[in-house]
């Protein structure tokens, strides 16, 4: 199994069909692309052709939405086989999915559903991550999701659960800055507690995204620009973890490429300022 830590890639974007033409005809200031694995787990045609062209020019990482790693349903080997086949074609820098489940009894709810933070769930998830990593021949990268409910039976915090999964299953983490912000607001915990609660050496990627504020709760819609509060938390996140491959995630209400690239430039600027401050502090 390949266990070496993935490289730092810089500042990337989620590849979206609306931007195919602009990306291939221009040279946007984007260091790498993240692709939704399922969008390319198809027989053939234009999407895979475009993906091959993007791959020739940029590093690519694969991000799945339906591995359902925490589900009590059996692992879907057809899905994993197709994922592995796509990885052989794409040669991604890493493969990520979410620390969640998406359905049981052969159903798929196409949503990132929450896990109770219990020892039972922990044992279950760790065992599944190990099986998937053995099958894929590489470490998996798992992302914390936005959640809207907590369970009465939970025995630990989300960050304790995430940390235990990462350490025991020996996997990488995708730290979704927006998701931490959303869940912290929804459940009343401190973003700093989460930030300082997960193992620094496991984090290989950041997601930054926009959300919808419903006053009593926040929904992780990825259909708005990143809000100032999330940028503030991104600044803290970069200061804590140091340089980590960062990506703007926009899935709905998708603006022209230039607008998302401009958001990515904000991330670059913040990371640059944090790095400069750290350099100055070290020099003093």
């Amino acid at each position: 199994m390949n266990t070496s830590k993935p490289p730092y890639l810089g500042f990337g974007l989620g590849l979206r069909p609306q931007h195919y033409e602009e990306i291939l005809n221009g040279s946007p200031a984007v260091d790498w692309f993240e692709v939704i694995s399922e969008n390319y787990m198809i027989p053939g045609g234009q999407p895979l052709r475009i993906l091959d062209q993007i791959r020739e020019r940029y590093p690519v990482v694969m991000h799945g939405v339906s591995m359902s790693i925490a589900s009590t349903a059996p692992l879907d080997m057809d899905y994993l086989g197709a994922l592995k086949a796509l990885a052989e074609r794409v040669d991604p820098k890493w493969i990520s999915d979410h620390l969640c489940w998406t359905g049981v009894h052969g159903m798929n709810l196409h949503d990132l559903l929450p896990i109770p933070y219990t020892e039972e769930a922990l044992d279950h998830v760790v065992d599944r991550v190990s099986q998937v990593q053995d099958f894929l021949g590489r470490r998996l990268t798992l992302e914390n999701v936005s959640t809207y409910v907590t369970f009465g039976q939970s025995e630990m915090t989300e960050w304790e659960f995430v940390t235990e999964v990462a350490n025991r299953a020996d996997c990488w983490l995708l730290f979704d800055v927006n998701n931490v912000y959303v869940s912290a607001f929804n459940h009343g915990f401190s973003t700093d507690a989460f930030l300082h609660g997960v193992p620094r050496d496991r984090v290989v990627q950041f997601h930054v995204a926009g959300h919808s504020h419903e006053e009593s709760h926040i929904i992780d819609t990825h259909d708005h620009p990143v809000c100032p509060e999330v940028w503030d938390f991104y600044r803290e996140t970069v200061a804590h973890f140091g340089p980590v491959s960062t990506m703007i995630e926009r899935d709905d209400n998708i603006p022209p490429l230039a607008e998302v690239v401009a958001e990515l430039d904000i991330a670059r600027k913040i990371a640059g300022e944090v790095s400069e401050n750290a350099r100055l502090a070290a020099a003093e």
Binding site: E38, N39, M41, I42, P43, G44, G45, Q46, P47, L48, R49, S66, S68, S71, T72, D76, Y79, W101, T102, G103, V104, H105, G106, M107, N108, L109, H110, D111, L113, P116, T118, E120, A121, H124, Y148, V149, T150, F151, G152, Q153, N186, H187, G188, E215, S216, H217, I219
Partner: protein, 262 residues
């Protein structure tokens, strides 16, 4: 403590059926009641699938309007909980559902517009294959032609419509007023396939449809010519068959040919 398995059963049931048992397992937040918070998952499930169907069946939506489409979509989602990892295939039963479900079943053009959209989407990301080129055919010795068999491009499918759904689809696609729905005097064959990464369709006549169907079964070109002669007269039968074949090759509808030896 409820097991993880039972908890997930209950959570899923809560989303799919509206069963509230799961509310006994989740907490209110400091700002909001659990019914509202769990409702985020209930709403998201329907909204996400409705959005997918809206993308997959854009012209059905345009034809039925927002209210009519929403009604069809809601009944489809209720009747077909997703069993696919990839949401790409969630809407695969939509044409059949529209054909069988009242009141849409009384408007057969709706199911046929949906069938055309599904076929185009399937062709768009269907399997790759190098199209048969005219130069491939040119290299076949004349004496072998009667024994030639053809392999359709893997994305090519033939649909048969009882209504003018194809004309309605085209008008909607062009954002012009669609013709009134009507039942055709004779069923209309439509070929759908992918050429140069673009999904395409073309209505075809009864004779070409017959020949395409037989060619897809591996019938040799010599026999296809005889069938064409039987279908609509011996005059120019070979020329007609060759013209159809040339059209298929020119538009990438074939993926190969071989000289049958058995």
């Amino acid at each position: 403590m409820t097991s993880l398995k039972d908890l997930q059963d209950s959570f899923q049931r809560g989303i799919l059926t509206g069963d509230d048992a799961i509310l006994g397992e989740v907490n209110d937040s400091a700002r909001e009641k659990r019914t509202v918070l769990f409702g985020v998952y209930r709403n998201a499930y329907v909204a996400r699938l409705a959005e997918i169907l809206g993308e997959d069946y854009e012209q059905v939506h345009a034809y039925l309007g927002d209210a009519g489409f929403a009604k069809l979509v809601k009944s489809y989602i209720d009747a077909n909980p997703s069993d696919q990892r990839n949401v790409r295939w969630f809407g695969r039963h939509f044409p059949a559902f529209a054909r069988e479900t009242a009141p849409f079943a009384n408007h057969p053009e709706v199911a046929e517009i949906a069938a055309l959209e599904k076929a185009l989407t399937d062709a768009f990301d269907g399997p790759d294959a190098t199209p048969l080129g005219i130069e491939d055919l040119a290299s076949i010795p004349a004496e072998d032609w009667p024994h030639l068999t053809f392999e359709p491009h893997p994305t090519a499918v033939r649909l048969t419509f009882d209504t003018n759904a194809a004309a309605i689809w085209s008008a909607l696609k062009d954002e012009t007023a669609p013709p009134a729905p009507m039942r055709l005097p004779e069923p209309q064959a439509i070929l759908v396939w992918r050429q140069d990464l673009m999904a395409r369709f073309r209505p075809i006549g009864a004779e070409e449809s017959m020949m395409w169907n037989e060619a897809g079964k591996g019938v040799r070109f010599g026999v296809l010519c005889e069938m064409v002669a039987t279908f609509a007269g011996e005059d120019d039968a070979e020329l007609r068959a060759a013209t159809y074949l040339r059209g298929w090759v020119d538009t990438g509808m074939l993926a190969g040919c071989r000289v049958a030896t058995d």
